[in-house]
């Protein structure tokens, strides 16, 4: 793992539980979640569908309240969405009536920033994500991969410190997904040391989680709880070929075995 000058905790999740009341008895989505995410760390949460990993992300985003325990961002308890937050969902939720550029600028408009202030940055971001020249197209003229790239640009526009990504590549085909994995790590790494964004990345792909992350959090379902946290000690930068190295295979294998032991994966 990278040696960090700044390893203080950015997100602190302590003893968090989330219960949804339902007519057929309460449903426990999260139980006893304890997790610290350090400043500038890339953490992935991997687990089967319905293990509450999306709920966890929504709680950190302040979009849902917790039933017990506490979440703090920058040592301040989360009550509603924290400042300097970027979110990417599985669906790109771009607005069909706006051009790609206007979609990227949406969050800046909401924050009351002047267009002239952020337009240059938006165009630069689009260029970095391979969307240069597409800024005046509409979302429906673009492929799924390009749309998701645009939605990442939108999340990055206001230079967030914390980036929450809820299965952002889950709906894409395998090759586009590989592409975006590479681009995401490149962009995340390129930022100056100490200015790297803190990322919480939700996925159900073990390979994706290991490739992207500093640490992988394994969750099991019913109720959603953390079963293990695995350090990924593969040095960066990581080319895509790092996935063929023995160490990569060891780590993914370890996670897969662990899920198999829990009866979540069959071997």
């Amino acid at each position: 793992m990278d040696a960090r000058t700044n390893s203080q905790s950015y997100v602190t999740i302590s003893r968090v539980g989330k219960v949804y009341p339902s007519p057929r008895g309460d449903v426990t989505a999260l139980a006893d979640i304890d997790l610290d995410i350090r400043d500038g760390e890339f953490v992935s949460v991997v687990g089967p569908s319905g293990c509450g990993k999306s709920t966890l992300l929504k709680c950190v985003a302040g979009l849902e309240g917790v039933s017990s325990g506490q979440i703090s961002v920058r040592s301040a308890p989360v009550k509603g969405p924290p400042d300097r937050l970027g979110v990417v969902f599985q669906r790109d939720v771009l607005l069909d009536w706006r051009t790609i550029l206007d979609n990227v600028l949406l969050s800046a408009e909401f924050l009351g920033l002047k267009r002239a202030q952020v337009e240059g940055r938006a165009l630069e971001l689009l260029k970095r994500f391979g969307l240069g020249g597409f800024e005046n197209r509409h979302p429906w003229e673009l492929s799924g991969g390009m749309r998701q790239r645009a939605s990442i640009c939108r999340a990055l526009l206001c230079d967030p410190e914390l980036l929450l990504m809820d299965e952002p590549f889950g709906a894409l085909d395998a090759m586009t997904r590989d592409d975006l994995n590479v681009e995401l790590t490149r962009i995340w790494q390129d930022s100056a040391h100490g200015q790297r964004k803190t990322v919480l990345f939700i996925t159900h792909s073990i390979i994706e989680a290991v490739y992207l992350s500093d640490r992988v959090v394994m969750m099991s379902r019913a109720p959603g709880r953390i079963v293990d946290v695995i350090d990924i000690d593969i040095p960066r930068p990581r080319p895509l070929s790092v996935r063929e190295t023995p160490r990569f295979g060891e780590l993914t294998g370890k996670i897969r075995h662990h899920f198999a032991e829990l009866g979540i994966l069959k071997e």
Binding site: P81, F89, D96, L106, F110, L111, F134, S143
Partner: protein, 267 residues
Amino acid sequence: MSRSIFKRLMAESRTRDAITIVVALLVIWEICVLLFSPSPMILPPPTAIFAEFWSTPWVFIRHSGYTLAVTAMGFGIAVALGIILAVAIVYSRFLERTIYTLLVALNSIPKVALAPLFVIWLGTGTEPKVSVAVMLAIFPIVIDTVLGLRSVDPDMLSLARVSKASAWQVLFKIRFPCALPSLFAGMKVAVSFALVGAIVGEFVAGGSGLGFQILVAQGQFDTPRVFVSLLLLSIMGTVLFYLVDFAERVFLPWHVSQRPHVAAAGG
């Protein structure tokens, strides 16, 4: 844009087909009358109907103008009022439970039967006719707009919350544009209803309009005049419908139903 609207309409095969069918029906009608010679009081031939129109064209045009004005006013008020009501219903649980429920209940009574009441309340001028038109046209607008305002992707609303969007920003930048396709669907139904309302208003108490024309001609057993009015009404209804359709294409070039067939760019 140098081509006239008429030429553009004719260029569409749909328009050409429609005109062909109407002309063919008129020819068949003429031949049937020639062959079976029914009493002109039962079924006059199309040529007699056109002759009737040409005998007093300005009378028909004046009455058409009145009906058109009542329809347009009723439609305009219904759209404005309907949108305001729909927004209020979507934003207030209380209004939803009261006004919306009341509207749905009101919608199930035959509103045409209420027309005489409006004459008692508002007299025999233009106001009761416009009111009947509004009453008929407003239901599809409110119901469809409410549906549209609610059809926003919940992830989009989460994104707006993360970007600290105000309630007005969410309404004008997200919800309302999102509701436009439904609003136009409601408007297409409403414009025909407004015309029905105008005619019913003229039937109940009137001194002008095509509804009044029909009533007078009926009293004199002047069947050709009834047919002229009916023909003008159907032309008016068709033109109004396509005007809304045209407005939809202008305002919603981004909507699925309007898109040219583009191949999504690769990536």
